[in-house]
Every structure is written in structure tokens, then in C-alpha cells.
């Protein structure tokens, strides 16, 4: 307690969110719900290291090198067999590496979920963090992956969001084959380049996209206008097909894409109206998507980045394995959703601890009586604290109230009593039979 001691009170690290106990308690409950739902559909969990070999990350990195966080001992110096490592920036690259490495020990179709942190060295802004939780689920197989999985993932994700009361949300589904087939039908040579430009529609607007298509890809202005017009199609059902057909553009790939998208939209009928849309503006920047693509938004906050996303890919393990592994997956941006709804006051934060019952230390009662009561209630599945300090009863009650503990238990051997601190009601109770109210 010397006053001349140098005190440096720690400050938050920008981009590294941290929650108070009462907030973390809700986040944990969210993670439990997500995990339980993933498992209800038979997905297994994997938990790869936080780091990967730098070459693994950079090889898949799509120009993300600058944002990758390298990891290196502060002490420096050489250590034998020391790998060059960096923190993963998503959960997809670790999945690809994991499946390639353990290929012979896994059963396919491989359905896995992953709930982990990921790291990106970017400038923090609203919804963008340097460290954040992602919740991913993917299905990979050695042969074909049934389109039924494309249809099932939105149902699973919606079920989670509904349970978490993350509403209203909108889910935007497209199929890259529709875009590629349409562009091919229009005679565009650089289809991938065109998709990359269209992906910017949200950010830069229709006029700029039009200009980029004309200037960068040398596409005729009228053709570029059709690309932009296609992106404006958004329907709550399979009716997007008629809208596409009006353009009179034809290609086999377009037909396949339309059929696939209609299949997924039909399965999505299990989700309440107003949530799912076939949205032809969704392109997803990543080149590895080849079919269905998903994107989710908090509809109350239109400017906020997408809160879940994913899609289908033809091969996730290129470069790691001689075999192709197609699949389909979806990723929920847990920290992005949680931090926003917390900041908006839309998450009900309550108790700061999981304790349900505080056993009071009565001055005239032997201590062992309180301990025994605690054990008896704990054995019945309750979360129970025995107050350990020698403090006045009023002080103990205030401790319970401050932490949001609902019940205070008076372990008087002659007559146990329990007080409901919410209602103020106090009544006799038996540790062997008592049940909480409400």
C-alpha cells in the first residue's frame, strides 16, 4: 500500500473485446446454444491449434498477408525445430489443413463444427475486431456432397438465431453458377473478374460497378448494365427464375444454378416468411465458392457488416491433398453479433455469477451446518456458494444482491429458511426437497 509505488492502471487493447462477468455469462450461454444445435444435427467438434505454419496461411491467404499475425518468441534466438507460425485468420484454412493431415483417420462425409477465436491485424472499426469468435459448420466429402446439405445449413443457423433472439435477421442466398452462367451467356470472358467487381456493389454502388466492368474488363456498357440489373433481383421464393428468364440469356450453367437455388429456397420454406431471400446481388469475394453462397444481415442495422456467411466449394484442400474435397459450410460471426446487440442494449444482462443459492453463515450456528447444507443442495444440482468470511448477515445478503444471486439460505438446524431476494419472501425449506419458485 506504499503510496510511492508506481501504478500503471491497464487500459483496454483496441480491437480485443473483453466482457464483464455478467456479459460473459450470456456469451457462454450463447456458445452453449450454438454448440447444442450443431450437435443436434450430428456435427462433431474439432479444435485445431490457434496457429498454423505461416506457409499454410499465406498459401490460402487471398492477399491477406498483411493482416496475418505472426507469432515469434520475444527472446528471439535460434531454437531447433522451431516452426514459423502465425495465428489463423479464419477457421476454414485450419479445417482444410486438418482434413488433409488426418485424411486417413476421418470418416466421410465429414461434418464438423468449430467454435474458436480468429485473429486479423486490421484497423478496428464497428463490427471489425482483431480477435473474435467464429462458429463454423461444414460438410466435406470425397465424392459428391448432396445439395440437401446446402438446404439444411440455413435451417440450422436460423434455428440458432431464433433461440438466441437474434432478430430480425435476413438471410440472402445466391448461387455462383447463376452469376457465372448468366455472364457466360452474355459472352463475358473474365467471369471471375466480373464476379469480383459485382461483389463491390454494396460498397461502391451501381454506377461505379458499371464503370469498373466497362473500364477494367472492357465489357460493353449495355452488357454491364444487364449484370447490374441481374443483381437487383431479390425474391422471397423461387420466383427469381422468371425475373432472370426475362433477360433472355441462356447457358447450361445458368439452368443448373437456377435449379440449385430453387432447391435451397424450397427447403427454406421451413423458415418464417421475411427471413430468407434469393438475392442475386450476393457474390462473396472468395474465389473458392462455386455454388450456393449465403450472407446474413441484422436487418435493424443495414450498414453493419454481414453477421454470417458461407457457401459451397468444389475443393477445399487444393495444395494439401491429391484428392479433391468438395463441401459446403457456414460461419456465424459470434463476436460481431454479440458485441453489436450488447452495445445496442438488446441483450438482457443479469447476474454476474452462476450461483443460485447463497448459504448464509449464521453467527450462532456451527459452520459445519452451512457447509453441509451447501453440499446437500449442490448434490441436488444447484449452484451454491457458502459465504466464507465472518461478516454480518446484512452484509452477506448485500453480497448476494449485488451479484444477482436469487436465494439466500439460512441453515438453522432447527428450522431451515430460504429468502427469495427478488420477492423478499422468506419461508421454511428443506435442503432435501426445496425447489426454486417461478
Amino acid at each position: 500500500m506504499s503510496s510511492d509505488r508506481k501504478i500503471v492502471k491497464p487500459k483496454p487493447l483496441s480491437g480485443f473485446p473483453e466482457w464483464l462477468p455478467e456479459q460473459r455469462l450470456v456469451e457462454l450461454r450463447w456458445i452453449d446454444t450454438i454448440r447444442r444445435t450443431f450437435e443436434a444435427y450430428g456435427f462433431c467438434n474439432i479444435d485445431p491449434p490457434s496457429v498454423e505454419d505461416v506457409d499454410v496461411l499465406v498459401s490460402k491467404g487471398e492477399d491477406a498477408d498483411k493482416e496475418i499475425y505472426g507469432v515469434r518468441r520475444l527472446g528471439g534466438g535460434e531454437m531447433r525445430d522451431e516452426p514459423k507460425i502465425a495465428l489463423h485468420y479464419d477457421l476454414t484454412v485450419p479445417l482444410a489443413r486438418y482434413v488433409a493431415q488426418h485424411f486417413n483417420e476421418l470418416s466421410f462425409p465429414f461434418k464438423r463444427y468449430q467454435i474458436q477465436r480468429a485473429w486479423r491485424g486490421e484497423r478496428p472499426q464497428e463490427g471489425r475486431f482483431r480477435e473474435f469468435y467464429q462458429c463454423d459448420l461444414d460438410v466435406l466429402d470425397t465424392g459428391e456432397v448432396s445439395l440437401h446439405f446446402d438446404a439444411e445449413l440455413p435451417v440450422i443457423v436460423y434455428e440458432i438465431l431464433r433461440q438466441l433472439h437474434v432478430e430480425p435477421v435476413t438471410m440472402h442466398i445466391n448461387n455462383r453458377k447463376v452469376l457465372q452462367g448468366f455472364y457466360t451467356g452474355l459472352g463475358i470472358a473474365d467471369v471471375v473478374g466480373a464476379i469480383r467487381i459485382l461483389d463491390k456493389l454494396d460498397k461502391v454502388g451501381a454506377e461505379e460497378v458499371n464503370r469498373l466492368l466497362v473500364d477494367d474488363l472492357h465489357i460493353a456498357s449495355a452488357v454491364a448494365a444487364q449484370c447490374v440489373a441481374l443483381a437487383s433481383i431479390r425474391t422471397p421464393d423461387g420466383s427469381f427464375e422468371e425475373r432472370i428468364r426475362e433477360f433472355g440469356v441462356h447457358s447450361e450453367l445458368l439452368d443448373t444454378g437456377i435449379a440449385e437455388l430453387k432447391f435451397v429456397m424450397q427447403a427454406a420454406e421451413a423458415i418464417p416468411a421475411g427471413v430468407v431471400f434469393a438475392d442475386l446481388s450476393v457474390a462473396r469475394g472468395f474465389d473458392y465458392y462455386t455454388g450456393t453462397v449465403y450472407e446474413g444481415k441484422l436487418s435493424a442495422f443495414p450498414g453493419y457488416p454481414s453477421v454470417f456467411s458461407g457457401g459451397r466449394y468444389d475443393n477445399l484442400v487444393g495444395g494439401f491433398l491429391r484428392q479433391n474435397l468438395p463441401g459446403v459450410g457456414m460461419s456465424i460471426g459470434l463476436t460481431r453479433i454479440f458485441s453489436k446487440l450488447l452495445a445496442e442494449g438488446q441483450i438482457a444482462v443479469g447476474a454476474s455469477c452462476p450461483t443460485q443459492i447463497l448459504v448464509i453463515q449464521l453467527p450462532e450456528t456451527p459452520r459445519e451446518q452451512a457447509m453441509q447444507t451447501g453440499r446437500a443442495l449442490r448434490d441436488r444440482g444447484f449452484n451454491v456458494e457458502v459465504y466464507h468470511e465472518s461478516k454480518k448477515i446484512g452484509h452477506q445478503i448485500r453480497y448476494a444482491t449485488r451479484k444477482g444471486i436469487r436465494y439466500a439460505w439460512f441453515p438453522d438446524p432447527a428450522k431451515h429458511e430460504v429468502k427469495d431476494l427478488a420477492s423478499g419472501e422468506q419461508s421454511p425449506a428443506d435442503p432435501a426437497t426445496w425447489a426454486p419458485g417461478k
Copy 2:
């Protein structure tokens, strides 16, 4: 599938353990048990970032600088407001920083648990990893922290180990005041230095400790011998006191230490005989311990490093806060225990997924029938997969067997049947009422 593609099959990173799905499933169950038990005693969870400001880590680092993993963008270059960060090497420093930073928003006594990874850039060896899970629980307060907490922590930790079948274990408890009081009573000036040397007893042996005490601290050989002799005391109960008293050494601190250790040993009587020992050889290297110290061993593997440890400290937040915060805590080395028992074949690893029931796709039955059956069973709380690919029934059953899925469900609308793949028995069943066997 081109054969000229360059394939680099990924290799494991040394020191970064990674489990197969069936192993991870058990690890997750372990984490659930640990968490549930921590919460049953009213500890709240916190989940600080994986990184801290480098200065925060180094200031508390006890010469650990060389092992700290710094984190830096690979791209390099300057970014405004970019903190200098490193991965935490334990969960205690983040706790200290967290409590100091959020001091006014927390309720005391602050009882928290933390289940997180930590990172150390050391050379991997058996039981030592570069990335590992720790499970910590600590109680901190602004004033006194009741000795009842010192007595409760071993009970909680033992309850966890028993549930996980981590047996046989031994728990070694000492009190730094006993050592300090004894050394003071012997007239030793550099008490902290003596404790640091005694802490090496396990590694270097009695003769070398004797030599170090004499040569480095200029302690008389006969006195040094008494220090070493004290460390040989190990009793399953409070009888260590008589053994200490035989030395005829006296000091007030020694009396306090003996009383505290006896108090903790008495509470430990709730733990089966043969587990807990008052062990005067336990010193714990860290200088911040000031009272009770704990150390746990897997008794079947005497050479293996300690698998849990902890102790009492007078002040955890020195340098961060003007106020002193005493506390007591314990840390379970989850990865260290799990990896060892796994390697020794002592962990029963079963199914590679959480699925309980696979709903078979019958060729002559409408698909919706299978989907509906899946939903009905899922609504009743079962983990259920519907087989999505169009494969023969035998293939679907083999998939279930390979993944360790116990039940195959045949959703024939006229007559539902379920096959127990463990017994081979097949019988009629109703999705609305069916219950698993055993």
C-alpha cells in the same frame, strides 16, 4: 485431380497438440465437467483476450521473457494505435490485469474461473507444450480472504478429478509461512533465496540443495541439513506438527503457518485417504505465494511434471492498482493430464461424433418422411443425422458404424423400425415415444 499439381501434405506443429474428433469429444466432456463443477461452487467465468500488452506480461514475467510469444503483423509497417502485444503464458497475469482494469465494476470477493489456452515458446518435451489449456479458479478480495477458501479449493479440484477418473492422484499441500517461519527461526537471513533453492529439491536432490544453501547463501552446514530434513516431512494428516516441533525451532510465523496448514488438512478429510498430504518439500518457485501452496501429481507417473498447482498470495495486482488484492487460487493443467492419459491408453475413446441416431434414407420412401422423423427425434432432445446422399442402405449403416452412431432408424411410414448397431437387434419404434436402451 491433375497429377502435376504440387502437393505439400501438412505436418503436425511440434508442441501444438491436436486431437482427432473422437478424442476431442472426450476433451470437451472433460471441459464441461470442469466448468459445471466450478459453477456449482459459484465461480463466474471470464474470458480475457489471448494477448496482453507486452509490458503487462513482461512486468510479471519472472525471467520468462524469452518464452513469451510476441504477436506482430507479417506485413509489418506502421498502423496508428497499434498495441505491442504478446500471447499470455498463464491465466494469472490476465486475471490480475482484468481485475485492476475493471475494479470498480466487479463485486468482491471475486470468484472467477477461466478455461483458456496459454502459450509458451519453450522446447516441447513430455508434458510441456507450446500451446495448452489451463483451467484456473481463484478468489480475490479487497480485504482478508478467508482461510476456508484455501480449504475448499482442494475439495473442488478433487471432485473434478474423481469425476474424470483421473486417478490415482496425490495432492501435496504446504504453507510458505511454515518454511519462512522455520528458516527465520534458524536464523537464516535470505529466506526467499532459501525457498528458491529448496524448490529445486525434486530436480537436483538433497546433496546439491545442501551445497547451494552453504555455498550461495553462506548457511552453516548443520543448519542447511535441517532445512533439507524439514522438506522430508510428509504426513497424511495434522501429525506433521509433531515432526516439525522435534527440531525445536521457534518463531511466530512458524506457529501461524502450522495452524493454517492444519486447518486446510482438516478440511481435506472429506477427500479419500491416500490423496492429500501435508508435504513440506513443496515450495513453488513463484515469489508471489505467501501462504498455502498446492501441487498435484499423477502418482502412476512420478517423473511427470505436476498436473495442478496453486496457492495463496498477498497481492496479485501490484503495479496495476493502488489497492492490495490478496487471494488464493488453483490451476489444473488440462492438456498436460489429458495428453498423458491419452498416450497411456487410459482414456476410453469412443464415437467420433455426437450423433445418437442416423435416420436412413429408404429408396422407396419419400425423402420428407426421413426429414420429418429427424425433426421429431431432434425435438425430443436427441442428436440426429438424416443421411443425405443417395447410397445403398448397407453403405449408410456402415457410415453409422464407422462413426460410432448407436442407432439406425428406418423411417417407413407404415412401420418405423430402429436397429441397435451395438446389439444388432432391430425392433418397431415410434419417434414420439422411443427411448434408447441400456
